[in-house]
Symmetry: C2
Amino acid sequence: MNLHQSQQTIVIKLGGGEGVNMVPLLEELPSLLARDFRVVLVHGASAAANALADQAGLDRRQIQSPSGHLSRYTYPEMLEIFVAAAAGQVNKSLAADLQTRNVNAVGISGVDGRLLVAERKRAIRAVENGRQRVIRDDYSGKIRQANVQVLRVLLDAGFTPVVAPLALGTRGERLNVDGDRAAATIAAALGADALIILSNVPGLLADFPDANSLIRSVTPQTLDVARTAAQGRMKRKVLAAEEALTGGVPRAILADSRRTNPVSAALSGAGTVFSKQ
Amino acid sequence: MNLHQSQQTIVIKLGGGEGVNMVPLLEELPSLLARDFRVVLVHGASAAANALADQAGLDRRQIQSPSGHLSRYTYPEMLEIFVAAAAGQVNKSLAADLQTRNVNAVGISGVDGRLLVAERKRAIRAVENGRQRVIRDDYSGKIRQANVQVLRVLLDAGFTPVVAPLALGTRGERLNVDGDRAAATIAAALGADALIILSNVPGLLADFPDANSLIRSVTPQTLDVARTAAQGRMKRKVLAAEEALTGGVPRAILADSRRTNPVSAALSGAGTVFSKQ
């Protein structure tokens, strides 16, 4: 029996980049729970991982794909730093902060309970100084499967799960995975009512960085417009929104982390709302 | 209704110091679960925290108490490193390893679900170069309360919880807590059938490091002998064993992490068994 049929489940992705203000979401969360939402919070960790990598003296190289896409080069030593920052520092800092707000948070990662199982990218084509080479020691992964039982069990018991963007590799490795796509996969597997991706922009802008060019709604008919408008990191967020919809999530919303009550605002139509119609 | 009355619950503390071999325990865990044990694994992180602190260029000072007791000086930057190593690196490495052995591990810390609530030591008297001073920026804590609901929920659903030695401070801080005492508090609050503390010694030795001087059994009548025999780190393990017994755990066993099937061996009487009679 599902005791929670009347409750809405929302998956919130909070960016971990420079400039993302986590406070408005943390301040809003208690009121969301009081309104009977079931919330899963998925977080990023890039700024914290960068800071710890610098402190540890690691070389922070990016991998540039032949199509121009940039991503973190997660060589073995960098993986250790990423795991430390994501599942340690950021995850426990969010969990402790939420506890002070009487949100009974439980921080886990995609490794735990096999929540996210991913395939390690064993050979990545990269462009360096204009030449292509193949990188074979990267520990990032492409998500293949989500096992959300651990989230259901925690939600049913009244906990608020906080998820770090790691996955379990098919060979038992810990892998760095994209937080936006992790959140989308989780939202789909949970049958969530909405996926909300918060970062330090108002949403998808037709003419970046002009905030007045916000695209308010994206449907299958206008998806091409959205894909074309998305620049840089926004590309993955648009992809994540698409994946959530394909997985059956009715709404995926790209919205601003910096405003008061960011989730309520997003659910009321602020930001860019992806839906089937 | 308790569906698990016939199942034994054991809390295992696996040391995180240099020289502790984690492999025998990890190899044994699947067979323990197959024998219907419910297991909570609490781990240490000192070697990993030391390595990460060195990598990050932090000064690893110890605090020496007036009574000669040594502990990690967890100043704010060191706390970040400790959290990263304990809840990030070690916790997720254990969870991923167990997953490859078909143990459905879920790694959390004492912060999560308010599992361990502790009081920060706001003023610590320390001896330095023969002089006493007071340290006020240390983020270690004394455990005051355990809320084991998160463990029960995970155990009831068939997961194996893996717990990093952090606690939530009464003011929302993350705190470094002693793993042995954390395990003892958890064992008592869970009503566990046994606490097993594994490290790289055969147990409590009357004449350290002579392995032939193993003390096989400690009862209330012989507790003074045990306290006197305990040197260095063993002092806290003896204290943890005492705390577990005081909290109602029938047996607390200090045993060797390095041998095959360390838990079965401990339960069969290898190591030092603390009991009420």
